[in-house]
Symmetry: C2
Subunit: 233 residues, 2 copies
């Protein structure tokens, strides 16, 4: 069995099992929301798509951020700490990099799992159970690699223990250069952006840096137009 | 000043100064050939383009490899150890990943420098002298990142000492996880491919792993149709 990593959704690579990471903070929020009791998460790249989805569905909690802060008129932001209790059945989450990564994975993988550090063991064991090669798809930031998603990719490569491509080996090696996830997150562009734009959200970093505290494996169940429907089914 | 790295030629990024790396072995060969006395190197992606160039020019030493071994009818392979003495003025080198990286850098940088470990200090000092941000373009292997080019990118980021993007920081950190370049090269896909396809070329790895032994800065001087002309001018 092999594990490969793409640092951005545009990079070449494919495998039957895709694992998508946007750890600061979209996929951490998705894992937390589904663990808390939301029935499904609809990921939309654009704010207007998210609004149109709620209009069409007649229901849904609108969540998301731009430049780390809540979108005007939305119910919630993109802090996983806002999703400890469900306030509806459907979460409609506007996340540009995260949605793009899910769509990219869907185009080249038979199944798409959603990973963060919060559900690391669960997603790794699920991927192992399928018995197929794995491609980890990092969301990155606007088409460029970031250290936070790469850290999680490296942890997945380490836990799987399979043969690694050069990108997977690089990710696993990078993990060893930090004392832990929080240090890597604070060094990363996503982490620094968060601290600059919304210093009050600093507690999100240690929150997202906790490993294997949620026993959920979110997966892509359908594309609804350009939105990705994710649930635990 | 900033330094950025793209792990493959397709990744997003731009800067006034571009530095191209295909360390195993195209850019090591280019540096060695120009240091030895070749006047210019024409890099062509396709074998037939290289042949057509010699036909059009009426001169030129044909060099290159496929799957690590010399192309039938070519004068030389792609081992830098074959270029210790010039056997002509113009070297026409067929290198798929290397040419693609040069063309990619030319599309988004004002100037394009060619780097290997052999000329590391020289190229870093030249880049510093321009006083502009740097983008390091790794050739990778068929659109995917590789450890050998990433190692050299990391050494460039370390030597420049400038502010780093996440990709440049990742490269610099990776360097610290090996005892030295040769270990990284042997672990890389390019190195393993070389050892599998042509074990007799194993001495190329320690040869290419020598740092700052050549005082040359090859640069892209022109595109000739789809071929890149590189010289020390």
């Amino acid at each position: 069995m092999h594990v490969d990593v793409v640092f951005t959704p545009d990079e070449a690579g494919s495998a039957p099992t895709g694992i998508v990471i946007d750890v600061i903070r979209a996929t951490s929020t998705i894992c937390q929301a589904l663990a808390a009791g939301y029935e499904r998460v609809l990921c939309a790249a654009e704010v207007e798509e998210a609004r149109a989805l709620r209009e069409a569905l007649g229901e849904g909690v609108l969540g998301g951020e731009r430049a780390a802060v809540r979108i005007p008129g939305f119910d919630l932001g993109n802090s996983p700490r806002e999703y400890l209790e469900p306030v509806g059945g459907t979460l409609i989450l506007s996340t540009t990099n995260g949605t793009r990564a899910v769509v990219s994975a869907a185009s080249r993988c038979e199944r798409v799992l959603i990973a963060s550090l919060l559900n690391l063991s669960a997603v790794v064991e699920d991927a192992r159970g399928h018995g197929d090669d794995v491609l980890v798809v990092c969301a990155g930031v606007q088409g460029t690699p970031n250290l936070d998603d790469t850290f999680v990719a490296g942890r997945i490569a380490q836990l799987l223990g399979w043969e690694r491509t050069d990108a997977a080996e690089a990710s696993a090696r990078l993990v060893t250069t930090w004392s832990g996830a929080e240090e890597a997150f604070r060094a990363s562009r996503s982490g620094r952006n968060l601290l600059e734009n919304a210093p009050e959200l600093e507690p999100d970093l240690p929150f997202c840096a906790r490993e294997s505290v949620l026993d959920v494996v979110p997966r892509l169940v359908a594309m609804r137009d350009r939105a990705a429907e994710i649930s635990l089914r």
